[in-house]
Amino acid sequence: MNAVAKLGLKQRYSLLTRGLDWEPSYQSKSAIYPYAEFEGIKIHDWSKWEDPFRLTMDAYWKFQAEKERKLYAVLDSFAQNNGQMGLTDARYVNAVKLFLTGVSPLEYQAHRGFAHVGRHIPGVGPRVAAQMQSLDELRHVQTQIHTLSHYNKFFDGLHEFPHMHDRVWYLSVPKSFFDDARTAGPFEYFIAIGFAFEYVLTNLLFVPFMSGAAYNGDLATVTFGFSAQSDESRHMTLGIEVIKFLLEQDPDNLPIVQKWVDKWFWRGHRVLGLVAMMMDYMLPKKIMSWREAWEIYFTEAGGSLFQDLSRYGLRVPKYADVATAEADHISHQNWAVFYQYTHAAGFHTWLPSAEEMDWLSEKYPTTFDKYYRPRFEMWGEMAKEGKRFYNNALPQLCTTCQIPMAYTEPGDPTTISFRHSHYKGDTYHFCSDGCKDIFDNEPEKYSQSWLPVHQIFQGNCGGASVEEVLKWYRLNLGADNLDQAGSPDQAQWDAWMEARRRVAG
């Protein structure tokens, strides 16, 4: 006899999870959830939250354990078989360096940030989902370290990634981005990372790196990428559920959420400039151009997303049109910055080869030949004459995104774009209207920015000379920095390839 009712997944999940919360009476709700109200978000009924995935903890452990077993089997075999020798070219490793120093620490920040949200959002459904995302993000940082640990054994530029992330000038771009989200209230964090980053922009960060790995023979990283995919799709469904829920709960939430969407779109766009440069310049075998990626993943996919969200009154982020126009320029301008400052970077640079320049001409028909090819060709000539161009002045940084002020005016690619604001007797400088708006909305916050160049001039970064600063970064001078050509990485790669030819012969 078995008269026991079968439970549906939703009902079972609800009984095992949603019922856990209670109305406190010995402590006030506001003492238990002290950060739930200061942002002005109004939630009337948490029970309206639709759980986007209904994982009980036992199911979570089971799925994740299975994925980890497979991933680590691949990592072990990659290490054992010296998988790094299957790469298309040693130049590829520089993308990996940028990833470990610039992106993996963000996964860690996401882990701690989702722990904060997973404690402080006063609804049991989103809280449990955020806790699981916190665990996932810890997974991502730890598996990335384990994946790239093998590269660290053979290549330069990876050996001090946490130390570098806290100090190096260009790494303050991703670091300040996540510090910004983490120091915001729990709802803004949820929109910034869960929606703007994970949902709208993740395809422009994660996919290019992982596809780049696949195209360039990096089996370890691509396996990590595949393994993380099911986590990412959970995070995306959570991100979309959050924004819909906030917008459905109260019409007063719309202007607040719109402001966050505008802000985090632009912040994200600026950080993704590093990915743009990686795609167009650093991958020996290209996947597609940044401009093509932007069209597919932002203009098309983002377009239909915002169309869908327009029924809540939400509009396309402010300056999306500017960002789209910048897609023709941003990778070239960024790579030019790193080429000039290669002595101060933790990865190598090079000038694109003739074939690569032709590829760029084809992909950027309206801009590359006109504005960027001449510059790269001139630098090539200078290098041939023994006058390789280094910029020895420290650049002015944008107070908001912290990128050197090298971007040009919308519609005028030969004029550098400068904006400024005054706050409490000081002048603050910006690269764009987007960055200026963000500052003007929260000047108290952004006036605190730890700007690497200011810090160097104030004497807080190891000393007054470039060399002292680089040592403070713990860069191995002559190994981690400078051109790919002549680097120990390249010399070793050439020796491997030569030995392989001998063995094969």
């Binding site: 439970l7 010995y26 402590q27 036992d58 449990v128 940082v141 370290i145 990876l158 120091t183 810090q455």
Partner: protein, 333 residues
């Protein structure tokens, strides 16, 4: 005949990351636990003060009064990183899943003495809410704590407490034939039954503790240190004569988990206490407060389940055991 396999000799240029090598005092191969844990959290040059607490940086050692010269001394003796944690728990849960199926298929809960069945509902099922409180506390420690060694282990503990709450929920569903009625009754008890109010007050009070290390001690040493031996030890033993062995099977995970969890808790408390006389005094004071509060809060439940006399004796023995444990950790009990 000899076979010659042609190989390339590829020598690594370094064995591990700089921050690990400095800790080892040498460049030598590192464990996956160490690479996944040590120095992973940012420590310097934060950009903005949190809007939700401008008196601290994002990661700030001063969020607790405990001080450590090196927060990575608070190692996890289980050496859990994400993969090993999930693989270990998935394995443990397989046994639980089998036990649940076995008890269900054989209808073993029908052998429970009816009065004891009522008692089990009374003492076991409301605990899911207490586990949920523990989950929030451990998530909070991950949020506010300093150094990945202790914060990563804390989010794992948070996941554990959610799972523990859900196992209790599943036992409720076995008892009520999947209607959820037993869980509703359990929530009523949690909210209103006199024997639960001290425990609910205790739980809600921990939810507002500001010092994360105090919270770590209160939750993981004082509260867990009484709850597990009392409920899954003493209460469970009392049920044995009353057909309760099926309940023991269903809660085997709890005992196994508590033993393992305590290894981590003990290592953290012991290391922090050994760091300085100030830490030791601080931890001792917190322990005195929270152990005595927890003991007081559990007393009505122990009396209710075991009877006044036996309840008082059992609780006193459990508390005595906890105090002996605290002494071995270096607290001045």
């Amino acid at each position: 005949m000899t076979i010659e396999i042609k190989t390339l000799k590829v020598e690594p240029r370094r064995q591990t990351f700089g921050h690990i090598a400095r800790r080892y005092g040498a460049d030598k191969p590192a464990s996956r636990y160490d690479e996944a844990t040590l120095d992973v959290q940012a420590t310097a040059n934060f950009h903005y003060k949190p809007l939700w607490g401008a008196d601290h940086w994002l990661y700030d050692e001063r969020r607790t009064r405990v001080t450590m010269a090196d927060w990575y001394k608070l190692r996890d003796p289980r050496q859990y990183y994400y993969a090993t944690y999930n693989i270990a728990r998935a394995g443990q849960y397989q046994t639980t899943e089998r036990n649940i199926e076995f008890v269900d298929k054989r209808g073993l809960l029908a052998h429970l003495d009816p009065a004891w069945r009522e008692t089990v509902e009374t003492y076991l099922l409301p605990l899911r809410h207490m586990e949920w409180g523990a989950n929030l506390n451990c998530t909070n420690i991950c949020d506010l704590g300093y150094g990945t060694a202790v914060t990563a282990a804390s989010i794992f503990a948070a996941g554990d407490h959610l799972a523990l709450a859900q196992i209790i929920g599943r036992i409720g569903l076995l008892l009520d034939g999947n209607t959820g009625a037993s869980l509703d009754r359990a929530k009523d008890r949690w909210m209103t039954a006199p024997e639960w109010q001290g425990l609910r007050r205790l739980t809600e009070d921990t939810l507002v503790v500001k010092d994360w290390f105090e919270l770590l001690l209160a939750q993981n040493l004082a509260i867990d240190g009484i709850l597990y031996p009392l409920v899954y030890g003493r209460f469970d033993a009392a049920g044995q004569a009353l057909g309760g062995s099926a309940v023991s099977m269903l809660t085997e995970f709890m005992n196994e988990w508590f033993t393992e969890h305590s290894r981590w808790v003990d290592a953290v408390i012991k290391t922090a206490a050994a760091e300085s006389p100030e830490n030791r005094a601080l931890l001792t004071g917190w322990f005195a407060t929270w152990a005595s509060r927890a003991a007081g809060a559990f007393a009505p439940l122990a009396d209710h389940v075991l009877g006044a006399e036996e309840g008082t004796r059992a609780l006193a023995e459990v508390v005595g055991g906890l105090q002996a444990r605290a002494k071995t950790l270096g607290l001045a009990v």
